[in-house]
C-alpha cells in the first residue's frame, strides 16, 4: 500500500514543518547531552577522543528514544491513529511510514550534525567519516526499535522513560557495532567487520520490527 505510506510520511513532515521548534528538540537535546561529557570528564583531548564514539552514539540513542513517543501520541489523542489503522492491509505500511518519518526528522539530522561533534572531540577525519557512516546505518535501527517501543507503550502515563527502559537493551548490539566501528577506525584498524554486523542488524530489524510494531499497535488499540 505505497499510497498510504507516502501519504502518512508527507503528512508527518508537513506537521513537523508547522512545529519547527518541536522538531528541533531532539537535536537540541543531543547537543546538550554530548556537551555534558567533556564537562563531566575533563577537557583532556586524548580522553575525549577516546570516548567520543561512545558518547555520540549514546546521546544519539537517547535523543532518538525521547522523541519517539511523539510518533503516536498526538495521533492517538485526536483519533487519527484509529483512522489510519482502519485502512485495510495498510498496517505495516503505516508502521514503516512512521519509522521513516521519525528517522527523517531525528536520525538524519543527527547524521548531518555528527561531524560538528566529531570536531568538538578532536576526532580524526577518518574517524569522523566512520562516525557518520555508522550513524547512517545505525539510526534507522534506533528509529525502528523506538517505533516498536512507542507502539507497546501507547497511551501509557509512564511514556518515554518506560520506553527507554524496555527498548534500550534491544539497541545494545547496534550501539556496540556502531561505536565499535568508529573506535576501530580511530585505532587504525579495519571496521569492515563492524559495518557488516551493523548492516546485518539493520536488515534483521527492518524485516522483523515492523511486524512486531504492527502487532503491538493492534494490542494497544483493541
Amino acid at each position: 500500500m505505497s499510497g498510504t505510506f507516502a501519504v502518512v510520511v508527507a503528512r508527518d513532515l508537513r506537521l513537523a514543518a508547522r512545529r519547527r521548534i518541536d522538531a528541533a528538540l531532539p537535536i537540541a537535546f543531543f547537543t546538550v547531552a554530548v556537551s555534558l561529557f567533556p564537562l563531566g570528564v575533563g577537557p583532556e583531548p586524548q580522553t575525549l577522543r577516546q570516548i567520543a564514539p561512545g558518547v555520540v552514539w549514546v546521546a544519539a540513542l537517547l535523543a532518538a528514544m525521547l522523541s519517539v513517543t511523539q510518533l503516536y501520541a498526538t495521533d492517538l489523542a485526536d483519533g487519527s491513529l484509529e483512522q489510519m489503522l482502519l485502512v485495510p492491509d495498510a498496517r505495516i505500511a503505516i508502521v514503516v511510514a512512521k519509522a521513516v518519518s521519525h528517522w527523517l526528522l531525528t536520525g538524519l539530522p543527527l547524521v548531518v550534525a555528527a561531524p560538528v561533534f566529531g570536531l568538538m572531540f578532536d576526532m580524526s577525519p577518518e574517524a569522523i567519516g566512520a562516525l557518520v557512516a555508522s550513524l547512517l546505518v545505525g539510526t534507522p535501527v534506533l528509529s525502528l526499535l523506538g517505533n516498536l517501543g512507542a507502539a507497546l507503550t501507547l497511551g501509557l502515563r509512564s511514556g518515554a522513560v518506560l520506553l527507554i527502559l524496555i527498548i534500550v537493551p534491544l539497541c545494545i548490539p547496534a550501539l556496540i557495532f556502531g561505536a565499535g566501528a568508529v573506535a576501530a577506525v580511530d585505532a587504525g584498524q579495519s571496521a569492515r567487520g563492524h559495518y557488516s554486523l551493523l548492516g546485518a542488524v539493520l536488515i534483521f530489524t527492518a524485516v522483523l520490527a515492523p511486524l512486531a510494531t504492527a502487532a503491538a499497535l493492534r494490542i494497544a488499540t483493541e
Binding site: L156, L165, L170, P173, F177, G180, L197, A212
Partner: protein, 258 residues
Amino acid sequence: MTTANHRWRLYRFASPATFYPLAGKLVPWFAAVAAVLAAWGLWLGMLRAPTDATQGDSYRIIFIHVPAAWMSMLLYVVMAFWAAIGWAFNARLASVVARAIAPTGAMFTFVALWTGALWGKPTWGTWWVWDARLTSELILLFLYGGYLALVSAIDDPRRGDRAGALLAIVGSVNVPIIYFSVVWWNTLHQGASVSVTTAPKMAAVMLQAMLLMTLAFWSYAFAVIFVRARAIALERDNRAAWAGAAVGRTAAQPEATT
C-alpha cells in the same frame, strides 16, 4: 455457564478454578524438595568438594552463581513461552503463569550478578568486571525489568498480557544477538586481560553439587511461581464463584471484594 466464564478458552490447561487448589497442594512439596536438594547440594559444594589450587575456597560461590545464572536465562525463555501461549490461544492462565515467573527470574538474575561480584572480588580484586557473561546477565536484568515495568504500567490485564508477551518474545529473539555483540565488544576492547572468572576444572563432586543446586533452584522456582500465580489468578477472577469459595475456605481471610 456464566457470561464471565465463557471467555476462558483454555484449551489444554485446567481452568483457574482447578489450578488454584492443585497448585496449592503442590507448593509445600516443591518447597520441601527444594530445601532438601539445596541442603545436599550445599553440603557437597561447601564441604565435600576439594579446594581449588588457584582460587582456594572462594570459588565455592559458583555453586550458587552458576545455577542462578542458568535459572535466570531458562526462566526468561519459559516466561516468554507461556506468555506466547497465553497470547496465541487466549489462555489466561498461561499469561498469569508468565507474569508469575518474571519476578523470580529477575531475582535469580540479581543473585547471579551479586554472587558474580562476590566471586570476582577475591579472584580479581574488583567488585565488578565487564566480562561478557556478567554484562549479558546485567542486560538480562534490564530485560526482566522492562517486562515487569511494561505489564505493571498497563491497567487492562489482557492488554498487559499481550504486550508483555510481545516484549518477551522480542527479547528472547534478541538475547542471542545481544550476547554475541557483548562477547564481540568484550574481546575487542579488553583483549585477553579481562577474561571471565573461569571455573576450576570440574571434579565429579562439583558437577554433582551444581546439578543438585540447579534442581533445588528449579523446585524453589516452581513453589514460588505457583504461589504467585495463585495470587494473581485469584485477584483477576475475584468475582467468579470459585474465587469466593477459595477465599472462604481459608480461615481468617477477609471476604474477596469486587
